[in-house]
Symmetry: C2
Subunit: 349 residues, 2 copies
């Protein structure tokens, strides 16, 4: 016993930053570390009087249990990760919001990682996977084999807005039918020649929207464009497209892969003297806040719910759910505003 005290030669305790450990508390309270641990966890195997002594020691030493030690012993991180291509724009923020909200409620911290277009993205994601109990991955941020590797390592993964991968849950929004409803609405308004702006190879979502767009046009007998007008997701990309459109001749409608694109396009068109919706109708996708103020016709997606659902799915897997992977599809909603032209309501009802 005396020896034990000798062994830990208590460095100058003047006021140095000596992190307080559970052993310090135990010594101070005159009990064993096991008892302190039990008191911490609220076990009922501790005598009230003892618990009081321990609590007093904790208070006095200002002890805070190390999350690291705890996690290592419990073999769990109590944290989930979420991976994004990019956090800019209003779209992703909502997903994170929903995710964080639910995760926090479930007692899990949230680690975020935005891959931008860094080459090191794959490594960063793998590293992240080693710090969490579960991982939500948005879109095509990482290669399929990286996701497979993580799944294979035993870390639950849920994919968001991305094609399914063996062994992982997924949540996405409905695109095909929504695209069709956009087209149908436009057709009913008398529009015929439609272009689609966006790059289907960029994301599963865009690919599906393009497919739905083509399908609906084909079914109606209207002219189906052979290819999309390729573009990214930013306002700048929209502006660039505007120039080409004016040069090449305007269609009746430009259906855009997202709102930022559509908004950038509209502004650029206006600057070149093209009236929206007078000369050309424009639609977007996402229903971001700016779309409301710009009067943009668009498709609303429940981004926040998507995040929340991803967090819940992960929680279930981490908690031991071993059922077949789930693949949820959230419904979307056409929001008609001014940018697709005055709707002749009388014409169809």
């Amino acid at each position: 016993m005396d020896n034990a005290e000798q062994k830990s030669p208590q460095r100058r305790r003047t006021s140095a930053r000596a992190t307080v450990t559970i052993r310090d508390v135990a010594r101070h309270a005159g009990v064993s570390v096991a008892t302190v641990s039990r008191a911490l966890r609220g076990s009922d195997l501790v005598h009230p009087a003892t618990r009081e002594r321990v609590d007093a020691a904790i208070e006095e030493l200002r002890f805070t249990p190390s999350q690291l030690g705890r996690s290592l012993a419990e073999r769990r991180h109590a944290a989930n990760g979420i991976v994004f291509p990019d956090l800019s724009g209003p779209y992703y923020a909502d997903v994170v919001l929903g995710y964080e909200e639910v995760a926090a409620t479930l007692g899990r911290s949230v680690l975020i990682l935005s891959t931008h277009n860094r080459e090191s993205a794959d490594e960063m994601v793998l590293e992240l996977a080693g710090r969490v109990d579960g991982l939500a991955v948005f879109g095509r941020t990482v290669h399929d084999d990286v996701v497979a590797e993580i799944v294979q390592r035993g870390v639950p993964v849920v994919l968001m807005a991305r094609t399914e991968i063996e062994g992982a849950d997924s949540v996405r929004t409905e695109n095909v039918a929504a695209a069709a409803s956009v087209v149908e609405h436009l057709l009913a308004d008398g529009h015929r020649r439609m272009s689609f702006v966006g790059d289907p190879s960029d994301s599963t979502d865009v690919a599906e929207r393009w497919a739905g767009f083509r399908g609906a046009l084909a079914q109606s007998g209207a002219e189906v464009p052979e290819r999309t007008i390729p573009a990214g997701f930013k306002e700048d990309d929209g502006a660039r497209v505007a120039a080409d459109l004016v040069a090449d001749g305007l269609p009746d409608v430009v259906v855009c892969a997202n709102d930022e694109l559509a908004l950038g396009l509209s502004v650029a068109l206006a600057e070149q003297g093209v009236q929206v919706p007078g000369d050309v109708a424009v639609t977007g996708w996402d229903d971001v806040m700016a779309a409301r103020y710009a009067g943009l016709t668009t498709v609303r997606q429940p981004m926040r719910e998507m995040g929340g659902r991803a967090a819940r799915m992960l929680d279930a897997r981490i908690s031991g759910d071993r059922s077949e992977p789930r693949h949820d599809v959230l419904t979307t909603q056409l929001v008609v505003r001014h940018s697709c032209g005055p709707h002749p309501k009388e014409a169809h009802r």
Copy 2:
């Protein structure tokens, strides 16, 4: 030696999820754990041939070092936290974006926590503080004494958009002069009776904007309202204010504490037949994307840079910088748009 093998009775290894540890690798490569560790860290104290054997073993066993074990041994988390009142709205997302971008570059993971208005916010933040090497705290999300506690615990803290606290760095944006410039611009346009919407007790920023607003009005000799029209930060809050304004009589200008408020207010006014800027001018703050499309006069703040700077400050502290706390103030910029009335440029130039 034979005994050692007995001791770890290798559970069914059919295909079970037996996490591979550094000791497995060591055994497999026929070296000690120290050597494996050295090989992992890229120490030059490992013979090339040995390194090769170790690498082969790592590859074969698909070994990934546990971040937990590593962090515990190294006594660092390699992660930073960022705390928000709420992640909704375009404003915070930008800060997180800037923060994450820089933190990732510096090799630190990012943990986010949104306190919403949960009662347990304080505990959650304290818990978070135990998982990170440094913490960025936005606005009045947590009480001063909680921040002080964290600082005192030795965790570097940087405050964003919040009054300074002993021992912590801070970054904020300039408010007083910006508010004055808004007022001056409006006065130059001939406006006189101005109201301010927002709750100064809500945030340091709002308090400073209100102060700058009053100061500039007082200096010009114009009438200074005694109190603000209290409101939160959401579009709904703006809509509620609109009703009161119409009932009580309109001023010439309504200066709002942020853009969402201003936008919600404008729409609600329009619905009640009040023209903006014809009957009343409206200004906001933040310059969110929707403000551009709504033509809202506002003040632009470098949110992204604020986040980035916070991340860099934290990094310096974590890396051992012991200099006096820094308090950075970022400059803001008045953005004049349609909502404050046609600017009679000729009048003053």
